[in-house]
């Protein structure tokens, strides 16, 4: 009798399991089907081209298609144009990204404090976002031309004119342009993050006599770390995209200091140098992945306790 009951329960459970399995299988299968179009889209437009690019980076040319393994990479690292572009892009990012993060954070902190004309300042820093790039470039050309407004001002005070766009100063011009264009958006992100920091923690710190700097580094920065990471990655990506402004300002072949890696990629496409183009794209991808991985690791370490 007991045996029968046990057997009945077992068969019921088995049946239930089988039904669940069938249901799960059906659900999973339909899930895969629902995902398939998106996955195929990603595959066709991202995954497959990525592998094709790797393939192209290891052949001599799309015409000969002889396998050369790493020769294109070796050639790339001995190419003056690539090294110049990569170095300039790196220098630009190393200078512009921290500046963009730190300055926007400082502005956000400033606007968080009780200061007069707060909303006007906020609008002021956000206004560059509304200006089209072409107009921005036009303004910059007027400002930094050899006989532009900046040089006129310098000359008025008895200084020497500076050839802003055709000298080593050119990168400063673009860094200023980059900051002017990006600070506002970063600032908004920081302001949002600041408003999410628990007030009770800050009030407790006040009660316990913590000063503003201590509160900033021990509480606010901990809570800001995910936003800090996000803003840094965003600024990094934007720093790679500054090519657009530089191209509009100076064309295909700017002064050496402004020659970015995207100039290299853009120009060698026209010369049918698809293999080196592919190799450069692979190198750029690896560099981006490494930088972002490092940022994630740092954020993981720094903001771990807050997230927990």
């Amino acid at each position: 009798m007991f045996q029968n009951k046990v057997s009945g329960i077992r068969s019921f459970i088995k049946k239930l399991r089988f039904q669940n399995l069938k249901k799960n299988t059906r659900d999973n299968f339909s899930g895969v089907l629902w995902l398939a179009p998106s996955f195929l889209g990603v595959a066709v437009f991202y995954i497959i081209p990525f592998f094709v690019i790797i393939y192209y980076s290891m052949i001599d040319s799309p015409i000969g298609r002889n396998f050369v393994f790493l020769d294109n990479f070796i050639a790339l690292f001995s190419n003056h144009a690539f090294i110049t572009g990569a170095t300039n892009t790196l220098i630009f990012s190393v200078i512009a990204v921290p500046l963009a993060v730190i300055l926007s954070l400082m502005i956000a902190l400033m606007l968080e404090a009780r200061i007069p004309l707060k909303s006007q300042f906020r609008s002021f820093f956000l206004s560059p976002l509304m200006v089209p790039v072409a107009s921005v470039v036009l303004i910059w050309q007027v400002l930094f031309h050899n006989y532009g407004a900046v040089n006129e001002m310098i000359a008025f005070f008895g200084g020497e004119r500076v050839d802003w766009m055709l000298s080593e100063y050119s990168q400063i011009v673009v860094i200023v342009l980059f900051l002017w264009k990006n600070l506002g958006f970063n600032m908004i992100l920081f302001m949002a993050a600041l408003s999410n920091i628990p007030r009770d923690l800050l009030e407790s710190a006040d009660v316990e006599g913590a000063g503003p700097l201590r509160k900033l580094f021990t509480i606010k920065m901990r809570y800001l770390s995910p936003t800090l990471l996000f803003v840094t990655i965003l600024s990094l990506i934007n720093s790679f995209k500054v090519f657009r402004e530089v191209y509009l300002l100076t064309g295909d072949y700017p002064y050496g200091r402004l020659y970015m890696i995207q100039h290299f990629l853009n120009n060698i496409f026209r010369f049918l140098d698809y293999s080196r183009l592919a190799a450069a794209a692979v190198v750029m991808t690896i560099a981006m992945v490494l930088i972002i991985a490092v940022l994630f690791i740092v954020e993981e370490q720094y903001g771990k306790d807050v997230e927990e």
Partner: protein, 788 residues
């Protein structure tokens, strides 16, 4: 579940792998996509013109049934008063029944007229097969002409007699098929009160309504000649055509773009506007299938009446027809296409052929190996060579793809982009016309074949039968990657008394010559500016400043800085408004020492003769100033290459070699030194011969002064040119042998922009020459490095 998931993932992986492999496979499909049909020609020779007829105008002809109607012009001695009237001829399209329309009568001269002409300017046909012509008559009388005796030595004196003009009259005649007048319309109403007016265009529609363009206005009359309405143009109107073979439309520029506007006779206003493709040349009437047709670069295109899409109808090279002397194209009722070819013969006379093209499936063409030839702009010589090759060869046929046809109004580099993309995708032609293409980059990418092995293996052509100096100058890394039909050498030429005996000079030596000749305020003539001096000294001589193989540039040196400073002594621009600048040329720039040298593209012996004359009989080719005193630069014409991906390189060579044969070079190289050593020697011998005057009494040598011509120092005076000596010929050969590199037909626009942008800042005084050189070095280094 895991199994199902694994299966799905496996399927996706396989799909991805296949896609991946298909992306990476070597694409060997032919670049040429055969058309479904080609039009094969049948040539109908026009009979000999009857006596008294000087020529016919078959470009202004019309098809009526099975006949072509066209105008003919009588032989008239215009040196004395005479009457002349056009005639109408017809010929069946099979070449039979060539005759003058017997009943056609033009306007008769009024009483007392001494001379005049009746010209028939337009021929149209209506749907009933009637012919319509526009006739303009103009007569005059010379007082006392009847008693005047014309002196055969001075016949023109007759024109001194007092003249009375009878005015100009224009009529439109409707004629039957044998030329008999059915109806006549006085066209004076088209421009009431005007003494003279010009009918720009004329058309007749199926209802017999008459359309004219007079003074940029479309005027429509009914078949009886009553004026119905006028249409003013918002831009300008050029010509009238029939659309779809029925409605009449005007071609013109409406609101800043070329277009066709239908004329709506019901609303008496402009009707629908049809856009015109950017590459459309002459626009012609279509038929039921096509709204209209047009000449494009390579053949005839049309606008499909149903889809309104632009379609290629025929390609002249596919049809084996030369473009030279082709007239308008029209459809016959049976679907064939008719045109007329009219070519002047070398020995005199005109060869006229009616060409009937029959639509034939491409698959029915005789089977031959296809060779594709990609070009950007088709060279006239290459086009004719392709036609000749296709006619002659029983094994190969060349198909030409002209990439400029893919350019659009918005993107004039679309053709170039398409060619680059196709090459990257592995769709590589067999033969590339690299005259207007970046050959250096193609060579660096392994796209072009070294042609020396083909030359060395050829039974007739060898390096020793060609101008070896030119070959060597165009070598890249020891290889010859294109053959060219002709060549020349860029140099600076002048008198050795002034410039020094030895060829070649450095920038410092160049400046020293300028300093030693303070009177030379226009040292290289009056047409050189700062920019043009710099352009010719640097862009045509890039090898001096750029090492393409190693990707390095050499602009930040004293030599280039010196060159910038020399360039800065030239004027900013030529002051064409300054008459003094041109008035004092009466003295001559060179004899007075104001000009001491000339930039020269030496490409014929006549150039050398001319420079000898300009500089007093003795010249030296100094070349551009360079560090190594080797600034003579080769330039080439029509460079053709075989691609490494060609599947039939020997077949491609069998075409290319044509251009290097003595016969081809002798017949076709007109504007450069020939590549054939034999032909070069023949031309040299000819240049050393005294001029021979072929008078009535036979050939008379005129020695030693010979060869009349116009000297190019601005005066336009006739000068006597001396024949060359053997020493002159040797000097030319030395010039060719000294050429240090080769430049294509097009300058490197990107490089030039880099140079001139910084140089302009220096010329404007905003930066120093050192700064300009530094900036150019910086930017050019990147440009060159990208391509190394």
């Amino acid at each position: 579940m895991k199994k199902v998931l694994s299966a799905v993932i496996l399927i996706i992986a396989v799909v991805l792998l296949i896609a991946l492999m298909s992306g990476c496979r070597r694409n060997e499909e032919n670049i040429f996509e055969p058309p479904e049909f080609v039009y094969l020609p049948e040539f109908i020779q026009f009979p000999q013109l009857p006596d008294g007829i000087s020529h016919v105008d078959v470009s202004n002809s019309v098809m009526v049934g099975d006949s072509i109607i066209f105008m003919a012009f009588p032989e008239v001695d215009w040196s004395v008063p005479n009457f002349s009237a056009g005639k109408l001829f017809s010929m069946n399209i099979d070449g039979s029944n060539f005759r003058e329309l017997p009943e056609y009568r033009v306007a008769q001269p009024p009483a007392g007229a001494t001379g005049g002409s009746v010209s028939t300017s337009f021929i149209c046909a209506d749907s009933d097969g009637n012919i319509w012509v526009v006739e303009t008559a103009e007569f005059y009388s010379l007082e006392g002409f009847d008693d005047f005796v014309i002196d055969p030595e001075q016949p023109w004196l007759v024109w001194d007699l007092p003249r009375t003009d009878f005015g100009v009259s224009t009529v439109v005649r409707k004629l039957s098929s044998d030329g008999a007048e059915i109806h006549v319309v006085d066209a004076a109403q088209l421009a009431p009160g005007a003494e003279r007016f010009w009918v720009q265009s004329f058309a007749v529609d199926d209802d017999g309504m008459l359309y004219f363009i007079v003074d940029n206005v479309v005027i429509v009359l009914d078949s009886q000649g009553n004026r119905l309405f006028d249409l003013a143009s918002p831009g300008w109107v050029d010509r009238l055509i029939k659309i779809s073979g029925t409605d009449v439309a005007a071609i013109g520029n409406f609101e800043d773009s070329r277009a066709i506007r239908l004329i709506d006779v019901y609303s008496r206003n402009w009707g629908e506007e049809l856009t015109v493709p950017p590459m459309a040349g002459t626009i012609m009437s279509g038929n039921d299938e096509f709204l209209y047709i047009f000449n494009n670069q390579s053949g005839v295109g049309g606008i499909d009446a149903q889809t309104r899409e632009t379609v290629d109808i025929l390609n002249w090279i596919d049809s084996g027809i030369s473009l030279d002397g082709l007239g308008a194209v029209s459809f016959l009722p049976d679907g064939r296409i008719a045109t007329v070819s009219q070519n002047w013969q070398t020995g005199g006379g005109v060869n006229i052929e009616l060409v009937l093209l029959t639509k034939t499936p491409y698959a029915e063409l005789p089977e031959r190996t296809l060779l594709t030839l990609a070009t950007f702009w088709m060279d006239w010589n290459v086009r004719n060579a392709v036609l000749e090759f296709n006619r002659r060869s029983t094994t190969h046929r060349i198909q030409v793809i002209e990439y400029s046809q893919f350019n659009t109004d918005e993107d004039w580099s679309a053709g170039m982009t398409r060619l680059s993309t196709e090459i990257i995708a592995g769709r590589v032609p067999d033969i590339l016309d690299v005259s207007n293409l970046p050959a250096t980059q193609y060579i660096a990418r392994g796209l072009l074949e070294d042609l020396y092995p083909f030359i060395d293996a050829d039974s007739e052509i060898g390096r020793d039968t060609l101008m070896e100096g030119a070959l060597q100058a165009s070598e890249i890394n020891g290889g010859l990657y294109s053959i060219f039909t002709g060549f020349g050498v860029f140099t600076i030429v002048g008198s050795p008394m002034v410039l020094g005996e030895a060829p070649g000079w450095t920038v410092d030596e160049f400046r020293a010559v300028l300093a030693a000749n303070p009177n030379a305020d226009m040292p290289m003539g009056r047409f050189l500016t700062k920019a043009s001096f710099l352009e010719m000294s640097v862009v045509l001589n890039t090898n001096e400043y750029i090492d393409w193989a190693n990707g390095t540039v050499n602009f930040d040196n004293e030599s280039f800085i010196g060159l910038l400073e020399v360039a800065n002594t030239f004027p900013d621009e030529i002051d064409f408004g300054n008459e003094d600048m041109f008035m004092d040329i009466e003295e001559g720039l060179i004899p007075t020492g104001r000009q001491i040298m000339e930039f020269a593209g030496v490409s014929s012996f006549n150039d050398v003769i001319r420079f000898n004359t300009m500089f007093g009989g003795d010249i030296v080719f100094k070349g551009f100033p360079t560090e190594n005193r080797d600034g003579n630069v080769l330039f080439t014409q029509t460079a053709l290459a075989i691609t490494t991906q060609s599947r039939d390189k020997d077949g491609a060579w069998s075409f290319l070699r044509t251009f290097l044969t003595d016969d081809w070079q002798r017949a076709n190289v007109q504007t450069g030194f020939p590549m054939s050593r034999v032909v070069f020697d023949e031309l040299a011998q000819h240049a050393m011969n005294p001029h021979v005057h072929n008078g009535n009494d036979g050939a008379v040598p005129i020695a030693p002064r010979a060869r009349g011509g116009i000297i190019v120092d601005g005066r336009g005076d006739m000068q006597d040119f001396e024949p060359l000596t053997q020493a002159d010929i040797d000097q030319v050969i030395a010039l060719i042998d000294s050429a240090s590199g080769s430049t294509g037909q097009t300058r490197d626009e990107a490089l030039w922009n880099i140079i001139i942008e910084a140089a302009s800042e220096f010329f404007a005084g905003r930066i120093t020459s050192h700064d300009a050189a530094r900036i150019i070095q910086d930017r050019a280094a990147i440009y060159v490095s990208e391509q190394s």
